[in-house]
């Protein structure tokens, strides 16, 4: 036990708000500043400034790799289909729906707006030409590539700030510079660059903040704390993967707080409380506010109707200019002849003179009543007249007048409005029968009730033919039934079953229409219908004015809540099998890429593939790191320290942080049910590369304080620890670089490859590159 460590338990000074017994960087700070004071004379200016040079080198190489022929290919590549399109919608101010939060897409749009792009192109298919369509794609890509370009320098800054040597930091940064997947992704109009940029920025800001812990509550402490919060807000506003970054930083902060609360530090509870509150404010309130603000801007920009309308409730849709609901929402009144369309499957409720067969294939017997089916196409058979349940003389006269085409004043019409929970009868216009359900098994779903019709004067069937119209989301029974904008359930008054249909088609006797039957769980979402048409009514300008006046404005928060719910729902529903999806376990092993783009004529292709050598090297590093930890800890249990305490502490602090960063951005994917892709691993891959540098540092940089640079532009005292270190560093970087260049035709898509060349690059049989033959 040395003296320095013992002293660490003594509170250092009054002005630090909490003290530390074992803060490594504190010790490092001491030692390295002492050291630099001691021996700065004998060091060449090259070594002294080496960190700046290294940083410049990284920046230059990063720029070259990302911007190399950024204009090529002049075609839509992979998910530019989506994100280019979304940018266009922002510029057109048309509402769209996407599962990702809006920030990254708004940033792309911002680039387009700055260069005067008007959003006329919709990026419909991979391979569409940009030039002939007049899209300033170079500017767009160049703009997004700024974020991609910034990643390696940021990695350098993080490493330098975390107390690594110039060479280790350079190693990490160069590995990231020459990673094929990051370069591929980094020069196209995609979200991941922007997201990863904010992610690294958040990590960087947090490290700056953490290093200021002895100057708690100082201005710079606050600055970096707030910056961390802001960056976290931005990551999560790009993609919900940002939540992983939040969990990483959150975990680190909790651990930090856990140490602060330790009574041996002499922290009082009120001091602890201020620490706690400051962090809660900056890391919860700030990101949340930012997240919501971006949605606010999102709604503020997208004011026109667009392709995203259909995902939303009618109230939401009616907020958008030019929405068809606004155009077509009429009051439904008794006596109107209306059509019902099933929300989920889009079929119309229909009946005809056809009857159910007596006996079905499975030998069950039917009622042989008139068929009620769901038809894709709307015809005469789809019209139903909505009637009150009793014979009311006033209604009869009213109906006669309506049918005679008489002009009836508005007030009188309004007396016959249909409201939520009204009991009605539905008369099929074509056959003059009432819709009815009864206790007979439906043709294909024996557990559900058959739907059929009954003659108007059939008193026995009267109870069966009463329907309750339940409007979805109705508030009180003053809610009026409207076309287009109301979703309704038709629930049998007697049996409590709701009209329901499903994709299964009836056999030939039912003309392959859909089966309609009574669902015994009336509350299910699948029972929703809309009234689509009213016979004989068309929208007039006057009508529309009236409708507009009636629109209930929707506040930001309710709009946001609705959108957020839909995003989560649809994100989880992204389970469609994609030919290039993959499982998380395969990502670090780099077993398969994603085909982004192909050009058949010139045999060019872009194929997202991580640098295989780099991936495998960093996997190895991860494994070795765990082994090193286990060995160190085992030895400690036997009270034998085999590693220098400073090196060990740095390893456990910074090394573990990076390891957890990797885990936090990787492991949660295993729990996700949705389709996953290799590019989901990109954030984690950066931390894996850093891990390689960490291990390099542990193995080769023994005399730890001599090599530390504390800033990207900080002063270095020494560069290369040993010849072996130089050799290993050179070998790793050279391997990475050569592999990068070798696979670069797949990154840039500028050179066509012969089948031999393609096959030579299929290092694993699972690399399904094109043009193998």
């Amino acid at each position: 036990m040395n003296a320095g460590e013992q002293q660490a338990y003594v509170r250092p000074s009054k002005d630090s708000r909490y003290n530390s017994d074992e803060k490594i960087p504190a010790a490092v700070q001491n030692m390295s500043s002492k050291a630099s004071a001691r021996g700065s004379e004998g060091i060449s200016s090259f070594v002294r400034n080496s960190s700046k040079y290294a940083f410049a080198l990284v920046a230059t190489l990063s720029f070259l790799t990302r911007y190399w022929k950024i204009w090529d290919p002049a075609q839509v590549v992979f998910d530019e289909v989506h994100f280019g399109k979304f940018a266009s919608y922002y510029l057109r101010r048309q509402y769209y729906f996407d599962v990702h939060p809006p920030l990254a897409k708004m940033l792309i749009a911002l680039g387009g707006w700055l260069v005067g792009y008007d959003g006329h192109f919709l990026f419909e298919k991979i391979g569409m030409e940009y030039v002939s369509n007049g899209v300033p794609y170079i500017m767009l890509r160049g703009w997004v590539a700024i974020f991609g370009f910034a990643l390696p320098p940021l990695v350098y800054m993080i490493m330098a700030e975390s107390g690594y040597s110039v060479v280790a930091s350079l190693l990490a940064a160069l590995l990231v510079t020459f990673d094929n997947a990051l370069v591929t992704q980094g020069r196209l109009i995609l979200l991941d660059n922007i997201m990863i940029f904010f992610m690294l920025a958040a990590v960087y800001a947090y490290i700056r903040f953490f290093k200021l812990r002895y100057k708690a509550f100082s201005a710079s402490w606050w600055t970096w704390l707030l910056a961390t919060g802001a960056m976290l807000g931005c990551v999560v506003s790009c993609k919900l993967v940002g939540l992983f970054t939040i969990s990483l930083i959150g975990g680190a902060v909790l651990y930090d707080l856990w140490r602060i609360i330790d009574i041996r530090r002499g922290t009082t509870m009120s001091e602890f409380a201020s620490h706690f509150i400051a962090r809660a404010f900056a890391l919860i309130a700030v990101p949340l506010t930012l997240y919501l603000s971006f949605f606010y801007i999102h709604f503020a920009i997208l004011t026109n109707t667009g392709p995203g309308d259909g995902y939303h409730t009618s109230q939401f849709q009616m907020q958008l200019k030019g929405n068809h609901m606004t155009k077509n929402s009429f009051d439904v009144r008794y006596g109107d002849q209306i059509t019902f369309r099933h929300r989920d499957t889009g079929v119309y409720l229909e009946s005809s003179n056809e009857r159910y067969p007596l006996r079905y294939d499975d030998q069950r017997v039917s009622s042989q009543g008139q068929q009620v089916t769901g038809a894709k196409k709307l015809g005469e058979n789809g019209f139903w007249m909505i009637k009150p349940i009793h014979d009311i003389p006033e209604f009869e006269t009213f109906l006669t007048r309506r049918l005679a085409g008489e002009e009836i004043p508005e007030d009188e019409l309004n007396e016959w409005n249909v409201y939520d929970a009204d009991l009605v009868q539905l008369e099929h216009v074509g056959t003059g029968t009432n819709l009815r359900t009864h206790d007979v098994a439906s043709p294909m779903t024996p557990t559900n009730m058959e739907f059929t019709t009954a003659l108007l004067n059939d008193t026995k069937a009267y109870d069966d033919s009463l329907w309750q119209v339940l409007i979805d989301g109705a508030k009180g029974n003053s809610t009026q039934l409207k076309t287009s904008s109301s979703f309704i359930r038709l629930v049998s008054n007697k049996h409590g079953v709701a009209a329901w249909t499903h994709k299964k088609k009836l056999p030939e006797w039912g003309h392959e229409h859909q089966e309609i039957n009574g669902n015994k769980k009336p509350d299910e979402k699948g029972n929703l219908w809309t009234v689509t048409q009213i016979r004989g009514r068309k929208a007039t300008a006057e009508d529309q004015e009236k409708i507009k006046k009636k629109i209930v404005p929707m506040g930001f928060l309710s709009k946001y809540t609705e959108l957020q719910g839909l995003m989560i729902k649809h994100n989880n529903a992204l389970t469609t099998v994609h030919p290039f999806q993959s499982t998380p376990i395969t990502w670090p092993l780099m077993t398969r890429g994603i085909s982004f783009w192909t050009n058949n004529a010139e045999r060019k292709q872009i194929y997202l593939l991580g640098n295989p050598i780099g991936y495998w090297m960093s996997d190895l590093a991860m494994g070795m790191f765990v082994m090193v930890l286990v060995v160190i800890e085992l030895c400690r249990r036997r009270n034998e320290d085999i590693v220098d305490p400073l090196v060990k502490r740095h390893l456990l602090r910074s090394g573990l942080f990076i390891a957890f960063a990797w885990l936090a951005h990787y492991v949660p994917f295993f729990l996700m049910g949705r389709s996953l892709f290799l590019h989901h691993y990109l954030p984690a891959s950066i931390f894996a590369y850093m891990m390689l540098a960490v291990l390099f540092q542990v193995v080769f940089v023994q005399e730890y304080p001599r090599y530390v640079v504390r800033r990207w532009n900080g002063r270095a005292r020494a560069l290369m620890p040993s010849v072996a270190a130089v050799a290993v560093l050179g070998a790793i970087v050279a391997l990475q670089f050569v592999t990068f260049v070798y696979f670069s035709p797949l990154v840039y898509g500028t050179t066509g490859l012969t089948p031999e060349q393609v096959n030579a690059r299929r290092w694993l049989p699972t690399y399904d590159l094109h043009f193998q033959k």
Binding site: V76, K239, Q368, A441, N448, M449, H578, L652
Partner: protein, 926 residues
């Protein structure tokens, strides 16, 4: 270095209590001098995240606190008494109902199969079922009764069911004294021990489960015994490596092995016991008085006791299992052919080894166990199908499984020098022997899939039509058999494993393992799938014969044929059988999905959202339902522990150490262990997609009940003894009251409707009072029409078994009672229930609608191959079908496909790696 100094005092035979961990001593130091900051404690300065977390998370094994359980006569007395009570509670009215209940359908049947020696397959390991077989044997069951459906009468069939039920009942009874032992071994007193065992004894769910022929009673029994032994093992820490120490260690392992041999749920014991072992060994590393050799001895002892012993036990029971089941049976078809050859009366194939052009072959899926490539003269009837002849997989060998190997379209094999063997990578056609159609694939979706990587397989061809290139399949040999030379170069029956790759579509003939609809006779679907893994697309020839007429002019003698090399399956050894059986279990567990009405997800278990309906009689029924007080108390005490532990963590940091009535260490380590055990037996279920039931919670429930007992002990530790006893009595009385209340549905006691309805404390408890005690029951047919009767019948399918097939009528109606069942069955059989359908609509249109009238069989072979244009990705309904005449079909089809999907129409026609990104797809980003 003080921490490790503290640890060094912990040596065997030292003055401190045995098993006293380093963690404990460090804490003691701290509490001794709470106010003095320890300047010298540098250990924590080098402590890492990892070591910190190890120190704070207590996986403390039970009873590290009490060195020894001083066993007395009072203990004996208590044990005897509670055992008697437990036996009484478990065996009361054991003979009611005298009908097959719930999953007795399966496990009774399996017991019978053991007695007959007939092979069967079940997704659970064999031990519990063999125990039932043994019980049945002793009781005089002859294995004839087949437990076919719920509600069948035992008495009439002369089944000694009481004897069979007695076995689980006694096992269930033993868990009660075992609970007592566990609690006592954890260092708790007699009173807490008795209370805990009463809580277990009067838990309705455990009682219900242990009175029937179900696997859970043995499982819970072995789980409880494992942990009881483990707790006993920990009381022997002062005498390590003594016979008693070894006895409890090995017993723990043996019991764990038995638990895992009952149901795989028993495997959850391993991480639980493993964690506390690892934590203990990790502590021991820091003990410098322990030499590395001694530590290694500790390590090895545990490895033997907790890994090798269970493994040996598990394998042993399988050996017994296979020894008992020596005869082939219906389920043998699920196994590989190598497996089947080991069963008496099972498959025993000998065939010509070499496959020639012209050979008749029968092809079998190698991994699918489902059978042979099959075709028959019926057409595909699905929406987007071609209407050509069906090709399926069929389990039984018949004439329709025979295919004739022919050379590729427009080529011939030169047979002048004798028959030509089929080489590696040969392009062949397969002609169906009985119908003459060729195995064919084309750009059509198969019957049960809409993915655009899957294509329909059909039989295609007719007179005067030579076929087309879509009949061509390439033989891709995966591997041969190393014992048969040349089996990787040429196709050899049995030895060569190969795939069939369609020449134009580059898809492999693939066993989808899905059951086709009735119109395809519920055979198994086979299709052609692109980019599929080889597992389900591997085939081998099981039978090959070159007909003499086809064997060529120069080699026509029958003698030649007979002299050809023969091939037969190799018999699978015991290890191979065990491995295959376990793989199959893993598969079927994974694919066990269903929609049993009483299936329940894990989040609904602990708070007793609802139970499971087991059986319904007249005026009584069995509904497996927990004792709510016990369940809620158990859950509450687990949550309380978690909360308390978290608060204590934080307080520790502030050096505030509540003593918890002097029970702190005992409570934290004993309750801590069982909370971890509870979590280990509960949380993993959340990750399981398969169908789950409340009874999966029972092992975890037992652990939570112990925590409840410990918690009650903790909160009465500070009060006078009489108050404590009074509290215990109050708890026991309340539990007893609840037990009695729900005992009606536990024992199928006769009950009244009012009492039944009153007993539904929660709205979600759905025991069916209306049906069981409804007025009109036995005399009248159910006044139901079809839907309800169907629904009632649907409610009952037996649980926990190989995929519940909803097309097969389930047996009995729960709550609805036997009559409802009969009604339902009748309704199904009659195709409707005469009484059920109102007369006025039953008749009038009978003449107009002839029910016998069926759509004409599609005979339009001439419409033949169709090419579809791929429209929008997500609207499969918009697929347009363009007809192509058979004359132009052969070559143009492929070219068409190429053109229409924007592919270069090169000679290869289709590149199976389509350069699609996500553009066609929905938006697939995260």
């Amino acid at each position: 270095m003080t921490t490790s100094a503290g640890a060094t005092t912990n040596e065997p035979g030292g003055h401190m209590p045995k098993g006293h961990s380093m963690r404990g001593s460090a804490n003691d130091n701290k509490s001794a001098s709470p106010s003095v900051p320890k300047v010298s404690q540098t250990d924590s300065s080098s402590s890492s995240v990892m070591s910190d977390s190890v120190q704070v998370v207590s996986f403390a094994p039970p009873a590290p606190y009490h060195a020894k359980w001083a066993y007395t006569t009072t203990d004996t007395l208590a044990l005897v008494l509670i055992t008697l009570v437990a036996i009484l509670v478990r065996c009361y009215k054991l003979s009611t109902p005298d009908k097959v209940v719930f999953d007795e359908v399966h496990f009774g049947k399996f017991a019978g199969k053991y007695l007959n020696g007939t092979y069967f397959y079940d997704l659970h390991p064999p031990l519990a079922k063999m125990m039932f077989a043994a019980a049945g044997k002793m009781a005089g069951y002859d294995g004839v009764f087949d437990f076919k459906s719920i509600g069948l009468d035992y008495i009439a069939a002369g089944v000694p069911y009481v004897g069979m039920r007695l076995m689980p009942a006694l096992l269930g009874a033993v868990t009660v004294p075992a609970t007592y032992v566990t609690v006592r071994a954890c260092g708790y007193g007699l009173d807490t021990g008795v209370l805990a065992s009463l809580l277990v004894c009067f838990e309705n769910g455990l009682v219900t489960q242990s009175r029937l022929i179900l696997l859970d009673s043995p499982l819970v029994f072995f789980t409880v015994l494992s942990l009881a032994c483990w707790a006993m093992f920990w009381t022997r820490q002062h005498a390590q490596f003594t016979p008693a120490w070894w006895f409890w260690l090995v017993s723990t392992g043996a019991m764990m092995g038995c638990a895992a041999s009952c149901k795989w749920v028993g495997l959850f014991l391993f991480p639980v016991v493993g964690l506390s072992t690892v934590a203990d060994l990790w502590d021991k590393i820091a003990d410098r008085s322990l030499t590395p050799a001694r530590w290694a001895a500790h390590f090895l002892a545990r490895a033997v006791g907790l890994i090798l012993v269970p493994l040996a036990v598990y394998l042993f029971w399988f050996q017994v299992h296979f020894a008992l089941l020596y005869k082939t049976g219906d389920a043998a078809g699920m196994m590989t052919t190598e497996f089947q050859t080991t069963l008496a009366g099972g498959l025993n194939v000998t065939t010509d080894r070499d496959v020639y052009y012209g050979s008749e072959i029968r092809m079998r899926t190698t991994n699918g166990r489902n059978g042979y490539l099959h075709s028959h003269a019926h057409a595909w009837q699905h929406d987007k199908g071609s209407g050509q002849q069906q090709v399926t997989i069929y389990g039984h060998a018949d004439q329709n499984n025979l295919w004739i190997v022919e050379p590729a379209f427009n080529t011939t094999a030169d047979a002048s020098n004798g028959p030509v063997p089929v080489p590696k990578d040969a392009t062949i056609r397969l002609r169906h022997k009985t119908t003459g159609k060729y195995l064919h694939s084309h750009d059509k979706r198969p019957a049960l899939s809409s993915q655009d990587t899957k294509f329909e397989l059909s039989g295609y061809g007719f007179d005067n039509f030579a076929g087309d290139s879509n009949d061509n399949f390439r033989i891709e040999i995966l591997h041969g058999d190393k014992h048969s030379e040349g089996s990787d170069k040429h196709v050899q029956a049995i030895y060569t494993r190969f795939r069939l790759i369609h020449s134009n579509l580059h898809c492999a003939v693939y066993n989808s393992r899905k059951k086709l609809p009735k119109w395809a006779f519920e055979q198994i679907e086979v299709n052609c799938m692109r980019n599929c893994m080889p597992r389900m697309s591997t085939w081998h020839v099981e039978y090959a014969r070159l007909p003499s007429s086809a064997s060529g002019a120069s080699a026509s003698a029958e003698g030649d044929l007979a002299a050809r090399p023969q091939a037969s399956y190799r018999k699978l050894g015991l290890w191979g059988k065990i491995a295959e059986y376990n793989r199959l279990m893993a598969d079927s567990n994974g694919s066990l999905t269903g929609d049993h009405p009483f299936a329940a997800r894990p989040q609904h278990w602990p708070w007793l959202r609802r139970g499971t309906a087991y059986w319904g009689g007249r005026g009584n029924f069995i509904y497996q339902h927990g004792n709510p007080l016990v369940w809620w108390g158990a859950l509450g005490s687990v949550l309380l522990f978690a909360a308390l532990r978290s608060v204590l963590f934080v307080l520790d940091k502030r050096r505030i150490r509540p003593g918890l009535f002097g029970q702190r260490r005992k409570y934290l380590s004993a309750a801590g262990f069982f909370v971890v055990a509870w979590a280990g037996h509960y949380v993993p279920f959340f990750l399981m997609g398969r169908e789950l039931f409340v009874h999966h919670y029972f092992p975890a429930l037992w652990m939570a009940i112990l925590v409840l007992a410990f918690t009650l002990d903790l909160f009465t530790a500070g009060v006078p003894r009489f108050a404590r006893l009074a509290a215990y009595f109050a708890v026991a009385a309340a539990v007893l009251y609840a037990f009695e209340t729900f005992s009606y549905i536990t024992y199928a006691r006769t009950w009244s409707k009012d009492a039944c309805v009153r007993t539904r404390w929660l709205k979600t408890w759905d025991f069916d009072c209306e049906h069981a005690f409804g007025g009109v029951r036995s005399t009248e047919p159910p006044p139901e029409s079809t839907p309800k009767a169907e629904a009632a019948a649907d409610k009952v399918a037996a649980v926990d078994k190989v995929v519940v097939d909803d097309t097969v009528p389930a047996a009995a109606a729960v709550g609805g009672g036997a009559d409802a069942v009969e009604g339902a069955e009748k309704a199904r059989a009659d195709g409707g229930n005469e009484e059920g359908i109102p007369a006025e609509i039953g008749v009038p249109f009978a003449e107009e609608f002839n029910p016998e009238e069926k759509p004409e069989e599609e005979t339009s072979e001439a419409a033949a191959d169709a090419v579809y244009v791929k429209p929008e990705y997500d609207d499969p309904t918009a697929i347009k079908v363009a007809q192509a005449s058979p004359v132009q079909a052969p070559e143009s089809v492929a070219a068409d496909i190429g053109r229409k999907s924007n592919q270069p129409a090169t000679g290869e026609t289709i590149d199976d790696k389509k350069p699609v990104g996500s553009a066609d797809d929905k938006h697939v980003e995260l």
